[in-house]
Amino acid sequence: MVGSLVMARFAVSVFGRDRPGIVAAVTRVLADAGCNLEDTSMTILRGHFAMMLVVTGPAAVDAADLAARLDPVGGRLDLQVSVRPVTDEVTAAAGGQGARYVAAVYGADRPGLVASVSEALAAHQVNIVDLQTRVVGEPDPVYAMHFDLEVPAGCADQVAADLRAVAEALGVQASFEPDEADVL
């Protein structure tokens, strides 16, 4: 966050058919409104561009102001835009509990894959830090998921066993590996 004035924090989400200039147009409006981008995630999902941003702005700005400022850009680029205030006090580096693992699960596409796998993780209070999924290929589509996880101490072996069991029941492949970074 820049400056010491009281700031308001917002969650801004933007979604629309991908084309060049979306990030430039949206972030220019936010910058001109005095907003500062904090953590963001922006990517293409199946040909659509999805932006999720946490931003801070001057206390005088409210969510309706920001939405109104973004409205012309949303109309011009055919984007769905939403702005809502974020009031939860969380630290910049949220989480940090438990050990870092990565999991990859992939196989023939079928409904409920993500639900079944993530239920097995949630049963152990495993926190999904990042999840990317893609469905590729025809006529037999393959579904691939990549998880970044925080696993509570002492339960990694059981999580691994449960993931294997869920994967076997679903007829898909699963891997689960520690992913601690080396500070060099």
Partner: protein
């Protein structure tokens, strides 16, 4: 000799290519001692390069002794003017850096490497390394060229680089 502060981003000194040490003099020996003292002062720190102390000279130290991912282990390595003389195929692993706290990233680096440089006693040393030791060597050599792991990080969705939109 002393433990010295480790520069952190956005310190611009981290992004400047360092100059050769050349002849090893007292100042170079002092720098080497400070590098080792500072590295030893931090748990989990297995290497440190002179630019991280704000010194624009081609010097680094490294020690992976006892690291759980270590295979090769040359013990304490302190080299001036190091250069890569051989490198194997790349492997991907997640790295962090004392100078970039709170961020980590997946970086592809040669899984085996041979590095040659000048030792503090003025001799020449060749270090052949693999696993975490190879990665640490290459990470430290990058610092001497003003490169951070952020300059080499692979996208978080590297597993899904092949895109097929219809």
């Amino acid at each position: 000799m002393a433990v010295r502060p480790v520069l952190r981003l956005p310190a611009t000194a981290l992004k400047v290519a360092a100059k050769p040490v050349g002849t090893v003099d007292d100042a170079a020996l002092d720098l080497a001692a400070d590098l080792v003292d500072t590295m030893r002062a931090y748990d989990h720190c297995v290497g440190l390069a002179a630019p991280q102390l704000g010194v624009g000279l081609r010097a680094f130290c490294m020690d992976v002794s006892g690291h759980p991912k270590a295979r090769s282990c040359a013990g304490l390595v302190v080299l001036f003017d190091p250069e890569v003389v051989a490198a194997g195929p790349a492997a991907l692993a997640r790295e962090g850096c004392m100078s970039v706290p709170d961020l980590t990233g997946n970086v592809a680096r040669p899984a085996t490497v041979a590095v040659r440089g000048t030792t503090p006693d003025g001799g020449e040393r060749l270090v052949e390394a693999d696993a975490i030791e190879a990665r640490a060597l290459l990470h430290e050599l990058d610092h001497l060229d003003g490169l951070l792991f952020l300059d080499r990080v692979v996208s978080a969705d590297h597993l899904f680089r092949r895109r097929r939109y219809r």
